[in-house]
């Protein structure tokens, strides 16, 4: 029926991906920022202890008889005890001469401003943090500068940082999971009005082309306004088409009937055999045109209605019975016996106008192709599904064309002598398909065509 629209991505996915992507980016950013900050704070902690150690050593320095004595407190090193058992290095210089400690401990470069200085370096293959400070000692006639460096490995620091990183990482993951949940919720609640609109439009009856009046979010207003305008236009054009079909049916059929009655009257007045034959041919052509016009209009109507079936509860037996009654006079004129079988009501859902049209076309076909003094059997059953079977005693369908016969304007090669437009089977098939059923054509073993119209 209608072509399903092309899909280009999904608003929900796009929204969710944007939110989740943003959240993961933020989580990573948060992790990096907090970790950097934590590293700074942890480093400050280590620095302040190293600085205190340096100060306590430096404060103990005294000049006695031009000799430097540094009776530094036990705490100078004991304060450097860490849970990770960090190694401790130190160096004490008098001017450029090493007084004690590790000679190869790196000294800070640059000018000595007397401030405490901190630097990271590598010593015996391990990263260390060094704090350095200097102090000038004044003796009786000597001035000397004492420089003290205390250094520590960073095992405890990195242990603590790893612990912090693990914590931040789990916070980040928790935050991320929360945002993912939130983003799913946000996406659903954002998409909900759109879904509601789609549902309300889908649920409408085929004739309901009224505008959407429920309040919608601002962003959807242009869409809904366009939809309403489109539906208004569609409503208008549908009304016009229906009017046109009715009008066309009327305009074409009535003049044809008039012409036919004139032709028949004339046929009775004319005696010359040549003229009578001409008139008969003319009546025949008029019949054919009238029938074709009728079928074309039927087909147009079916095409129009098939998209929006008006389902009703109906009894298939009753519907077919009425048709048989209506067509009986035509059958009697050809001495054909229309036999109807089926008494139990066969209830089903369907569009009665379309069904009538389809089945009438099938019986018409059967009448057309049946020879005089033959019978047409019509069964209506509800098993396995509601279906109407029509069997005539005519020539049957040409075997090799059976699959193409339901095509529009296609007629069997044995139809040469018969009036018809080639639309009958097409109409019936379209109606069957519109109802979710099918039309099965076959030839009866005893001769004659068999058509099963099932819903």
């Amino acid at each position: 029926m209608t072509e399903s629209p092309k899909v280009s991505g999904s608003l929900r996915n796009r929204l969710a991906v944007t939110l989740i992507g943003g959240a993961s980016l933020l989580a990573v950013l948060l992790f990096l920022v907090v970790r950097t900050y934590a590293a700074q704070i942890a480093q400050q902690g280590q620095d302040s202890i190293l600085g205190a150690s340096v100060t306590s050593i430096l404060d103990a320095a005294v000049l006695r008889d031009d000799q430097v004595e540094i009776d530094f407190p036990y705490a100078a090193f004991s304060m450097l005890t860490t849970p990770a058992h960090d190694r401790v290095f130190y160096a004490i210089y008098r001017d450029a001469e090493l007084l004690s400690g590790y000679a190869d401990l790196p000294l800070p470069k640059g000018s000595d401003s007397g401030e405490r200085r901190y630097q990271s370096a590598e010593f015996i293959g391990k990263p260390i943090r060094i704090s350095t400070a200097s102090r000038t000692l004044l003796g009786a006639d000597v001035k000397t500068r004492i420089t003290v460096s205390v250094a520590q490995t960073q095992d405890a620091l990195s242990d603590r940082l790893n612990a912090i990183s693990r914590n931040i990482a789990s916070f980040g993951i928790g935050f991320f999971v929360l945002v993912v949940l939130l983003s799913f919720w946000a996406t659903s609640s954002t998409i909900a009005p759109l879904n509601r609109l789609a549902t309300s439009v889908t649920r409408r009856g085929p004739q309901d082309l009224s505008p959407v009046i429920k309040p919608v979010p601002t962003e959807m207003l242009p869409l809904v306004a366009s939809l309403n305008r489109l539906m208004a236009r569609l409503n208008q054009s549908l009304t016009q088409s229906e009017d046109f079909i009715a009008e066309a049916a009327h305009r074409v059929r009535t003049p044809l009937a008039t012409v036919r009655s004139h032709a028949e009257t004339t046929l009775q007045r004319v005696d010359k055999e040549q003229n009578r034959q001409a008139l008969r041919a003319m009546i025949r052509a008029i019949d054919e045109s009238s029938r074709a016009a009728g079928q074309l209009l039927d087909h147009a109507m079916i095409t129009f209605r098939a998209d929006q079936l008006e389902y009703q509860q109906l009894d298939l037996v009753e519907l077919v019975q009425k048709l048989v009654l209506r067509l009986s006079p035509v059958a009697e004129m050809k001495d054909i016996d229309l036999r109807f079988l089926g008494d139990q009501p066969v209830l089903c859902q369907g569009d009665p106008i379309l069904l009538q049209n389809a089945i009438r076309n099938l019986i018409d076909n059967a009448l057309k192709y049946s020879p005089s003094e033959s019978a047409i059997d019509i069964w209506v059953t509800s098993q396995p599904q509601p279906q109407v079977e029509i069997r005539d005693q005519g020539p049957g369908f040409p075997i090799d064309e059976i699959s193409d016969l339901a095509q529009r304007f296609s007629r069997g090669n044995n139809a040469a002598g018969t009036i018809g437009s080639g639309l009958g089977l097409t109409i019936a098939q379209d109606v069957a398909i519109a109802h979710g059923g099918k039309l099965a054509l076959s030839n009866h073993t005893g001769g004659g065509a068999c058509v099963i119209f099932s819903l």
Binding site: V68, E69, I70, D71, F72, P73, Y74, A75, A76, F77, S78, L80, T81, H85, D86, R87, V88, F89, I92, L99, S100, G101, I124
Partner: protein
Amino acid sequence: MRYILALIFALLPLMALAQQQETWEDRAMFHGSGSGSGPTLTILSSTDRSFFAPIITSFLAQRPDLSIEYLVSGTAEIDRIFRQDPSGFDLVISSAMDLQFKLTNDGHALAIEGVTTPDWAQWRQSLFGFTTEPAAIVVRRADFAGHSLPQTRQDLIKALRARPEVFRNRLGTYDIRQSGLGYLFATQDARASETYWRLMEVMGSLGTRLYCCSGDMITDLQKGELAVAYNVLGSYAAARTKDSEELAIILPADFPITMMRSGFVSAQTKQPKHARDFIRHLLKVQSAPVDPGIFPLPPLIPALDPRPQSAIGLGPALMTYLDPLKRRTFLQEWTSAVIQ
């Protein structure tokens, strides 16, 4: 180039000889029951052979393919010898915690993973304490006949002052200039209380003999040449006096100083696996309550009154008194108090 190489090769045996010529207090080879062709672990130790041999023997019983060379020297000597040739020894056992700590801090010790020992008894999973041994005052009971035995340093000062004629030139303590353990005991003593300095001054005024080792002090006590020995290793004294009532071992009640014997595997050992196994075995033997009849060294966790607050902890603070400036100042003070 060739000459330099030749020179090096010529000197190598000399250097080996130099090491051979170290004057060890004791040296011994232990062989497993196996063929004896297996690798040899060299242990540099300050612990007397008689104390350590049972541990070695029990280890070799499990590893009969190994041999162990046991070299005994003073704690300060051990530090000097090891620093000269860190690859020449597989294990270092010493009672001088500060020197052991400094060696570990300087990266000479190999880490041993998966060793279960209390946190206060190990450092960086490299240096492991395996005994807890208090510094004791050992006195001859004969010289305190009729007097109560001193229980604190204060009591000892009073006793010394009360009968100077008995104690003159009959007092002994470590020469802390020579003995690493003596220096450790002295610095920890001085750190804990000013009483130490008063005691040293009293001992100095009475004439104090200075010793390198606990063993010698105990010998002289037994000979009667000494009446009081201060800061003697309680474990040695206990082992030597087990059948006699001659000597009394007093753990000062005011503040006891307890040290740990500690050991580590040299970072440059060529037998890291065997050396680690030895440390594991050592800790296993010493962590459980031991039968002093078999293993004379006191265990890491004494059965009675561990008094951990007085134990010297393994930590960077041990480096304080190793600083040359600090050491110079301390030795000056000590010399002026004790030698006078």
